[in-house]
Structures are given as C-alpha cells and as structure tokens.
C-alpha cells in the first residue's frame, strides 16, 4: 500500500460543499458560453432546414400554376402549349435503361465484395478504391467519356448513351448499398446453408439475395432517383434542344425532364419559365417521394431482419 505524504492535512477545499448547488467559480461564464453554442447550433439547424424550405417553396408555388392533368399527359404544342409527356416518358426510359445496367452490375460487385473477396483482401480493397474513384468523377466528365465511347463512333447522340453515362454515375452508389445490405444478412443464415451442404450459388440465389432484397430495392430506388435528376451527362450525350421530339427510340436523341428545364433557360419567350417550374415541380416531387419510399422500405426491412 502506498503511503503518500500528500495526505498530511487536507488542503483548503476549492469550494464550500455545503453551499447551494448553483454555479460556483467560473461556471457562470462557462454556462453562458455553453448557452451561446446551443443557440448558434440551433440557428444553424434552422438555417439548414430553411434552405430546403426556400427551394421547395419556390418550386411548389411557381410550378403549381403550370400544373394540370394535361401538362402531364400531353405532348408539347409549340413552345408554350401542351404538356411535357414526352419528356417524362423519356426520363423514365433513360432511367430504366440505366437501372437495368447499373443494378445487376452493382449487386454482382457487392456480392463479390461480400462473398469472394474479404474486406481486407487485395482485390477487395482495389475494387473499393475503384468504386470510390468512380464516385468522385464529376458527372460532366462521365458524360464526355460516354460521348467518346458511344456517341462519336456511332455519330449519333442517343438516349441510350445518356443512359450508359447515368449507369456509370449511379453504379458506385448501387454497389456500395448492395455491399452494405449483403453484409447485414446474418452470418447464421450462411452457416446454416453451408451446414446443409448447399452449394454457394444456390445459397446466394435462394437465401442471401432474398434476405437482402429490401435493401437492394432501396438502394436501387435511391440510385434511380439520383439518376433522374442528372443533367450534365444528358447534355453531352443526349443533348436535344428540340423539346418537341415525341419519338422514344432510345438510339436517337430523346427528350428528358432535366434537359427540358435546361433548354428553357435558353429561351427568352414570356410565359415559358412557368412551364420549367412545372417540370421542376414534377421532378422534385418524384425524387422526394422516391426518397421517402426508400426510407419506409428500409425501415420495414430493418424491422424484419431485426426480428428474425
């Protein structure tokens, strides 16, 4: 046992313990600083929410007047008439093609990272690095790449080229969310399948992927929502300043909602901006709804996995 001379006599106490339990010493000042920080942080959060509110409010109020059933289901008539049905369908088509490319490749990549290469293996880390780098490439550069890859050789801008560019943009997101959700599949499921002698591919197809479906669908929805709003790749690969096109052949230029809005900013005709607001309204609503939907599905699939 240590004997320390510091126990000789108690020092003069730093405070009177019997005094009331209000701030003593420098606590008043420190409390004031603490209160100030709280206020600043709360104000910051209010600003953050306010920023979203400002943008959404503008889009909603300015776009509402352009909205009607006709706006959604009719094709444009001249510059200021009709609707944007062709652009909506075009976006749907482009995004679908992009998803058909990116989702399977993303899931396969996620499977590779979880089933075949450990997180610490050389190929695993290289692949993750590759995905990170791909995610950091500006979307306009991706557009340039696909321009050189597809548009130049075919001498033809196309919705398909735009879709390929979008697929490259959303692939890293898809791969990462697939990997995350595949990691969440309980190890016990895998072990049970192994113990039963089930071959790897069968357990992946019938046990692991079904368990991960919720998360994969969520990731796909989010990735698609992200892709629906991307303009730069479409500008380069599917640049179609003729918003009147109603053909939906993906191997030619087809219209899309982002390009529609972008094109209108070039026009100086009165009464045309409101249509862009209307298109922005629809686009924003679609994307925000997709985000909400993804969250709901995610919450439900988390509850299911937590319960199992």
């Amino acid at each position: 046992m240590t004997t320390s001379t510091d126990f000789a006599a108690p020092d003069v106490p730093l405070f009177d313990p019997t005094a009331p339990l209000t701030a003593s010493g420098n606590l008043r000042r420190r409390d004031a600083v603490d209160r100030l920080v709280r206020v600043l942080a709360t104000v910051a959060a209010a600003i953050g929410v306010g920023m979203l509110v400002i943008v959404v409010y503008s889009v909603v109020t300015k776009g509402a007047s352009a909205l009607s059933i006709g706006f959604v289901i009719h094709n444009p008539v001249g510059l200021v008439g009709g609707g944007i049905a062709n652009a909506l369908l075009g976006t749907l088509e482009i995004v679908t093609i992009a998803a058909l490319i990116a989702v399977p490749i993303g899931v396969l990549t996620g499977l590779y990272l979880t089933e075949f290469a450990g997180a610490d293996s050389r190929t695993g880390r290289a692949l993750k690095l590759g995905l990170d780098l791909m995610q950091g490439i500006p979307t306009i550069v991706v557009g340039l790449f696909v321009y050189g890859l597809i548009v130049l050789p075919l001498h033809q801008e196309s919705g398909f080229a735009g879709a390929v560019a979008l697929a490259i943009v959303i692939l890293p997101l898809m791969a990462r969310s697939a990997q995350e959700v595949l990691l969440l599949v309980p190890g016990s499921l895998r072990e049970a399948a192994d113990a039963l002698g089930v071959s790897r591919w069968r357990s992946v197809l019938t046990v692991i992927l079904p368990a991960a479906t919720g998360g994969i669908v969520t990731g796909a929805i989010l990735a698609i929502a992200r892709g629906a709003g991307e303009t730069a790749p479409l500008l380069i690969c599917d640049s179609i300043f003729n918003t009147q096109t109603t053909s939906l052949n993906p191997f030619h230029g087809i219209p899309s909602v982002p390009m529609y809005i972008y094109t209108i900013t070039e026009e100086a005709v009165s009464g045309v901006f409101v249509r862009a607001w209307g298109a922005a309204f629809i686009l924003l609503v679609m994307i925000l709804l997709a985000n909400l939907l993804a969250r709901v599905i995610l919450a439900r699939s988390r509850a299911k996995m937590g319960a199992s």
């Binding site: 959060a45 979203l52 950091g136 069968r202 686009l283």
Partner: protein, 323 residues
C-alpha cells in the same frame, strides 16, 4: 445401387461447383468491368484532349485567354473560377454543416433529430438542374439586391467589389454550391459525432464539464480526421459541378478579385460550349478541361481517403449523396 447414388451425388456436386464457378466469374467480371471503365475513362480523356495537349502543353493551365476564334485557349480563368466558387461554398458550408451536425448529434432530442436530420439530407436529393434554375430565377435577383449593401459594408475587402448590374456572378455560384454541399458536410459529420462512444461523453460530463466543453474537448478532437475528409469530399463535389453553376455564373473568361463579377469554371465551360462546338481545337480544349477535372476528382477522392485513414467515411458518404 451404391454406385448409382455415388454418381448422382458426384453429379450434383459437379453442378454445384459449376454454378459456383459461374457465380464467381460473374462477380469477378463485374469487378473487372469497374476497373476497365476507370481505365477507359482516363484513356478517352487523354486521347481526345490530345490535339489540345500537343498544341498548348502544360501552359494551358496558366494561360488566361479563351478565344476559340483565334485558336487561343487557356484554362487559367476557369481554374480560378472553379477554385474560388468552391472554396467560397466550403467556407460557408463547412462551419454551418458542422454546427448542424453538433445540433443533430448532441443537442436535439431523438424525435427532433429524426425529423431535422432527413430534412437536411434531402438537400442532397434536389437535382442540380433545379438548384441551377432556382438559382437563376430566385437567387440571382436576390444577390443583385444585396450586392450594393455588401459592397458598402465590406467593400474594403477586395472580395466584395463594386456591384454588377445583374446578380450573375461567382458569388451566386458559390451560394448555389453551398446549398449542394451542405448536406454532405452535415450528414457525414453528424454520423461521425454519433460514433463517439457514450462512455467517453459520460465520463467527460461526470467531471463537471458543460456540454460544449464535452464537444470541444472530446467529440471534435476524436473526429477531426473524419470531418476533414468529409470537407474534402464536399469540396470535390463543388469543384465538379457543371449545370447549376452554368446557369448563374455567366461563363465569362476573366479573373477578378471581386466575387460580384461573373466568371467561369472548368465544368460549366464544358457544359456551355461543348454542344455545338465546331472548331476541333475548341473541342479538344474542352476535353483538356475535362481531363483537368478528372484529375481534380481523382485527387480529391484519394485525399479524402488518405485523411480519413481507417475510418469508414465512405459508407456514410454513400448515404449522404445518394439521398
């Protein structure tokens, strides 16, 4: 009988092995595809920029004049505009985002956090075209109205020079970029703050420290590398943004000290001049700009990874930007 069942079993195993092999090669092919795509992107950019590289060399980066008609192109003004607008956005979104993260992680009740958090994340879900369009119609006139005031109050700083007739300016571009990168800083930082173990925060509180002292002394220091990486990622996003910036910055090749002047960035110059560009040298120069942007994008990704070290900033990033 026994022989038959053994053959059957072997056959079944064989099918399992084939199936396994198919699965493996499918997955590996996906991985290889990723690598090939990356490589091809680099190759395409370099080869298509070739004519401009051989004509201008590295001087392209320092040359200020951009006159396609005279065959003179230089990216200096573009690089300047890119850097200035992005740094301005980070200067605002950085502190603001960290403050929001502090609020969400440390001060808000769980119910409030569950509402405000997703709202801030939604900022990342708004497409850049909408930010650009909104910026053009709503933000630019607003900036135009406040420019004289800012100039008279802060005019002694060269950044806030004499106001322009319109609000089209580097300043507007910086503001739009702030909207776009704020959710990245806020969401990533919030996730980081929430990983600080509860025992550490409790232990600090038990020593008679105020909430701010716990944040300042424990939470912030232990997350500094992650937060820095988040800021680098946010900066990278701002550096590469084309559409939103193109609608509010004016595409003017000039370097000014004042933020209130129009300018240009690498990404928006490509967006503005690529479609319909006729001169081959112009096209190659735009590819050259793309190449510079590619280098910037790759470098910021690498820098963020290096700064974050072991922490998995990546996963939160995916959530933040996918939202």
């Amino acid at each position: 009988m026994a022989g038959l069942s053994r053959a059957f079993a072997r056959g079944a195993r064989g099918a399992g092995e084939t199936g396994d092999r198919v699965l493996f090669w499918l997955c590996a092919a996906a991985g290889v595809l990723v690598a090939l795509t990356l490589g091809d992107i680099v190759y395409q950019l370099i080869s298509n920029a070739g004519p401009a590289i051989s004509r201008f060399g590295l001087g392209f980066i320092g040359h200020q004049v951009w006159e396609p008609h005279f065959g003179q192109m230089g990216a200096a003004t573009l690089i300047y505009g890119t850097v200035v607008s992005s740094v301005m956005a980070l200067a605002i979104a950085g502190p603001l985002g960290i403050s929001i993260a502090i609020y969400l992680a440390m001060l808000a009740s769980p119910k409030v956090r569950a509402v405000v958090g997703p709202l801030v994340e939604m900022l990342a879900a708004v497409p850049s075209i909408i930010y650009g369009f909104w910026g053009l119609i709503v933000l630019v006139p607003f900036v135009q109205s406040i420019e004289p005031g800012l100039n008279s109050a802060l005019g002694w700083i060269p950044l806030f020079g004499p106001p322009q007739t319109t609000g089209i300016s580097v300043f507007s571009a910086g503001l739009v970029l702030t909207f776009m990168i704020l959710p990245i800083v806020a969401s990533l930082s919030r996730d980081l703050f929430l990983t600080v173990p509860r025992e550490l925060r409790e232990g600090a509180a038990a020593l008679g420290a105020t909430q701010w002292e716990v944040i300042r002394g424990i939470v912030l220091p232990s997350t500094v590398s992650g937060v820095s990486a988040a800021m680098v990622l946010a900066l990278g996003r701002a550096l590469g943004e084309a559409i939103a910036v193109s609608l509010v910055i004016g595409d003017v090749s000039a370097i000014h000290a004042s933020l209130f002047q129009p300018g240009a960035t690498l990404a928006e110059r490509i967006a503005n001049q690529f479609v319909g560009a006729s001169s081959n040298l112009l096209i190659a120069s735009l590819w050259y700009c793309g190449l510079i942007l590619l280098a910037i994008g790759l470098l910021t990704s690498l820098a963020a990874r290096w700064i974050a070290g072991r922490f998995d900033v990546e996963r939160s990033y995916a959530r933040a930007v996918a939202a």
